[in-house]
């Protein structure tokens, strides 16, 4: 068929013309235009610049992760290196090489560690999104690029976060960039999840504790009412590279 072969030719040409290292951005990804945003914990004045990037429209599913585990058996739960994943790795799966019945394959791939998520994304020629990239994309509602200070949106996110239960991808909402399920389906890994200096007792700003952290500049919360953001950042601060949690999954990103 001429249209499809033309399409293929153009795709290949674009792919070849693109950066040598980057794989072409597939239709399963959305292009997020760059911009500036104010993170919940901002270092110094001014907001953070996020360069344009591509982000998976949906979280990685169990079915997709199963394909990875079958191709890379070193990531099976009965073979994974202990340094890469804690004992809860893929604990929700019925067997080491089975992710459950057909409808369960549409669930987000959770119970995976950061090392595992990273390895999956590398296998796909992608990477994990940075925290800034993820937070930037997550500012968006269905219609606005930045709904973070809209009290109705904040209330909705809070309700989504606290009523989470296992549901297939595509169950929450599609934001203005065409990205689904950033909120309310599963928490998601980021590449630099361990870049935030908060202590486990996050009532104060522990980054001011100079015995524990050498932090350039004081880190304080920029929006005391952004409870969904507090929940996300607090959650990330509790993670380690090997951590696996039933409600923690991931999606991949790519440079543009």
């Amino acid at each position: 068929m001429r249209v499809s072969s033309l399409f293929l030719a153009i795709t290949l040409a674009l792919g070849a013309a693109g950066a040598a290292a980057a794989a072409p951005v597939g239709p399963e990804m959305a292009r997020i235009p760059g911009g500036r945003y104010l993170p919940l914990f901002a270092r110094g004045p001014g907001s953070v610049r996020v360069a344009p990037f591509a982000l998976d429209r949906r979280p990685v599913t169990r079915g997709e992760y199963l394909a990875f585990v079958r191709t890379r058996p070193g990531w099976r739960r009965d073979r994974v290196r202990r340094a890469f994943a804690g004992p809860g790795y893929l604990a929700g799966w019925p067997a080491a090489d089975s992710a459950g019945a057909a409808r369960e394959l549409r669930l987000p791939a959770t119970g995976v560690s950061w090392f595992a998520a990273k390895a999956y994304c590398a296998w796909r020629g992608k990477r994990l999104p940075t925290t800034d990239e993820w937070e930037f994309a997550a500012l968006a509602s269905e219609s606005a690029r930045d709904a973070a200070r809209d009290p109705a949106f904040v209330a909705r996110l809070l309700a989504l976060y606290t009523s989470r239960r296992p549901r297939p991808v595509g169950s929450t909402f599609r934001n203005v960039y065409g990205v689904w399920d950033l909120h309310g389906l599963a928490w998601e890994w980021t590449l630099d999840f361990n870049s935030l200096m908060v202590s486990d007792d996050s009532r104060g700003t522990a980054a001011r504790d100079h015995a524990l952290y050498c932090a350039a500049g004081v880190i304080g919360a920029t929006d005391a009412r952004n409870y969904p953001a507090f929940l996300r950042y607090g959650f990330r601060a509790a993670l380690e590279g090997r951590t696996t949690i039933d409600g923690l999954g991931f999606r991949c990103a790519q440079d543009l």
Partner: protein, 397 residues
């Protein structure tokens, strides 16, 4: 909408009449006798000295009792007691309290506390997803003895949506233990602390944002019994007040999500004892018999409101205000701030219903801060006379 307060007769507290005194007898008069001046002076001097010493002693003892100089109470150094053996703490779910500790030495106490997020009844037809210590709101009551070395195992159920930790106000240490106790879902964390100070202390989750964790019910009480022990009473109960903020108004049915704006504005929809409207009424009323001594361990989880804790039909014989070791007596209403506690003790005198309330009455009438102690048994003579008569009153005749 359920009736929050049963229709009780108006209770009039009888006036205390002082017991009848016998009439005073005039002092006997003895005739004067002349005495030698030297002896008189000596006697006078001795009398003055005795009086002075006596007064001085009296002043010292009362002064010592009152804290001789203002702001001069000693600040003790608390040396760790030697610890013998170990035991697993028997926790209790509200409104019950673990048995009093009778051992006379410090031991290592292992506390196993599970964190589980669960949907439960907040009021009739109303459900809320609570975050709990031990599956209840308030969380399990922990009872230890001054000097105990506590090893707390905090287990976060794998189904939890959030990491959790615990800050016990009894702990002297970073975050009250919060920094040492964080557990992500599916994880158990263990930390140890020494119970240095006796008293009744609140504990709560302090994971960010702590206000939300507390608003969802993550609080409870820990009693550190003084090493001298506590006198036995007939009944001990555990009551903890909390305020809840829901999307729907009070009584709106269904599973209600948390409402952040109302929480920030401190406008709760529910103010309740022990996590739900009616948790201490009807079949769940507390029980006592007349003539029994009752000790209530009362806490306030907040997150926002202070409780004006009062029991209708009772006077608190003892109140250990703020859960500390100083006793106040004959108290009607005691103030319990969020993150605070009080121990109240009284003896029941009459059968009937004693009503626990937050005396900020709109909370009791419209938001659920009502509990009951059902007192059964005989009437103690003279305590309450009861109704005498009712007849017409027509002013101006």
């Amino acid at each position: 909408m359920s009736t929050l307060l049963e229709q009780e007769p108006i209770v009039v507290r009888p006036r205390r009449t002082p017991p009848a005194q016998p009439p005073r007898q005039p002092a006997p008069v003895t005739p004067r006798r002349p005495a030698r001046p030297a002896i008189l002076w000596a006697v006078a001097l001795v009398a003055v000295l005795a009086l002075a010493l006596g007064l001085f002693g009296y002043r010292r003892s009362t002064a010592a009792a009152a804290g001789a100089k203002p702001f001069a109470a000693p600040i003790p150094t608390r040396a760790a007691e030697p610890v013998r053996g170990q035991e697993v703490a028997q926790l209790a779910s509200p409104p019950n309290v673990p048995r009093p500790i009778t051992r006379t030495y410090a031991t290592k106490v292992i506390v196993n506390l599970e964190v589980v997020e669960k949907t439960m009844r907040l009021a009739d037809g109303v459900e809320y997803t609570f975050w709990t210590f031990g599956g209840s709101v308030p969380g399990s009551f922990i009872r230890v003895r001054e000097g105990d070395q506590v090893e707390l195992h905090l287990k976060n159920h794998p189904g939890s949506t959030m990491p959790h930790n615990i800050d016990l106000h009894a702990v002297t240490g970073p975050g009250g233990g919060a920094e040492a106790s964080m557990a992500v879902p599916g994880q158990e964390s263990v930390f140890r602390f020494t119970a240095l100070n006796p008293g009744l202390y609140a504990y709560h989750c302090a994971f960010a944002p702590a206000s939300l964790h507390v608003a969802n019910g993550m609080y409870g009480l820990i009693l550190v019994q003084p090493k001298e022990g506590m006198p036995a009473v007939d009944r001990e109960y555990y009551v903890m007040q909390g305020d809840f903020y829901t999307k729907g108004a009070h009584g709106a049915p269904g599973l209600q999500p948390f409402d952040l704006q109302k929480a920030i504005d401190e406008r709760p929809d529910y103010v309740v004892f022990n996590g739900a409207v009616g948790s201490l009424t009807g079949d769940h009323a507390l029980r006592a018999k007349t003539g029994e001594t009752v000790r209530l361990f009362v806490g306030n989880g907040g997150p926002n409101l202070t409780s004006s804790f009062h029991v209708i039909g009772e006077v608190f014989d003892n109140v250990y205000t703020e859960g500390g070791t100083l006793a106040q007596h004959n108290v009607q209403t005691t103030s319990i701030p969020p993150g605070g506690s009080a121990i109240v003790e009284f003896r029941t005198e009459t059968p009937g219903k004693l009503v626990l309330v937050d005396h900020a009455l709109f909370r009791a009438f419209s938001k659920g801060t009502v509990g009951l102690i059902q007192v059964e048994g005989g009437q103690r003579a003279g305590a309450f006379g009861g109704h005498v008569s009712t007849h017409p009153y027509t002013p101006g005749r």
